[in-house]
Symmetry: C2
Subunit: 208 residues, 2 copies
């Protein structure tokens, strides 16, 4: 039996992601169950990957800059989704803009509905091939989590929340993030869905 | 008990690598044991990664072009080496030139000593922080595999073998390779040490 750990004292993992990132789709679906098994708390850290790429002097995602890598990534994502028993459809638009849902995810970080909302938005992008940066998609995802969309959309669009997302994105840059998903266990950085299990093991081992 | 399979009819995996590639170091150490467990034959495919990057229009390795990614990679390699119980020292020169040892590895592909030779060269680069593109290092690695270096070095430098390595590198480019290690199971491409297990599982499942 795993040790009983209260939420406050459980070791934690930070999950930095953007809804436009394919490998974040995999982690978004996997992380809550895997973290629960490991006795680790998930700290959701939505951020804007585009400005981070720009700050690094990149023209955009390495996938869109390098055709061979992009072609491979689609093949790999189809295989990886099968491996994790997740549905998958290659989106017709890549990378999709996700400003509004990221603002909502930021509001939801720390709320019990965050994971459910994020997985739904990810599925719109990577299973239903649906645009996600609009009121209708975000409202649908909120309603699916049994929430009233109107007040959340209003708060998401408030200046304070907009500024928080800008600050979180700047924090991503300052911490050396260059892609997504990125996991942090303390100051140790782990890149990519392939490192989720290692990061969780490190977090569990760091239990005080 | 696994089915008895002769070498000729065993399913196979192609292992494309360059001795300058850190993640190829991990795969080089892991692949023979993992493939034997899976009942899969390893086809060693040494090639020159530099000309492939050039042909793609890249200035060099993504690691040397992107400082954040390079810094992360060194941290990740240290952790991954611990995970696989392999020794590791961050090389003081990166990426190391490896023309001569790649020519010898090409001669050795299909020979029983290939794996032993390749692991030794990888260790010079990534454990001993030693230059590898010279006669002394290659001769040491051949002697460690109980071979007489002189005739092998002479054959490696022969025009026919030089041309074979150029052709193998061109073949890498034509098959869409953009990094190392790269694995092929039939025409399916798997990128990175993180995909070795998936590739072996696919090869084993494709058993006729």
């Amino acid at each position: 039996m795993p040790p009983t750990t209260s939420i406050a004292t459980a070791p934690s993992i930070e999950f930095w992601f953007d809804f436009g990132s394919p490998y974040s789709y995999l982690s978004c679906h996997r992380i809550e169950a895997a973290a629960a098994t490991a006795g680790v708390r998930v700290v959701w850290r939505p951020f804007l990957l585009g400005p981070v790429f720009q700050a690094l002097g990149w023209q955009g995602s390495p996938f869109t800059q390098q055709a061979e890598k992009l072609r491979y990534m689609w093949q790999d994502m189809a295989r990886q989704s099968r491996k994790y028993a997740l549905p998958w459809r290659q989106p017709s638009v890549f990378p999709r803009r996700a400003l509004l849902p990221l603002r909502v995810a930021l509001l939801g970080a720390g709320q019990p509905w965050c994971g459910s909302f994020c997985r739904r938005i990810m599925d719109y992008n990577f299973v239903e091939d649906r645009e996600i940066d609009n009121d209708a998609a975000v409202a649908d995802a909120l309603r699916a989590a049994d929430l009233d969309p109107a007040p959340i959309l209003a708060a998401a669009r408030g200046e304070a929340n907009k500024e928080r997302l800008r600050a979180q994105t700047e924090s991503a840059r300052q911490r050396g993030i260059f892609g997504a998903p990125m996991f942090f266990v303390g100051t140790d950085m782990y890149w990519g869905n392939d490192r989720l299990d290692d990061a969780l093991a490190a977090a569990a081992a760091a239990r005080p």
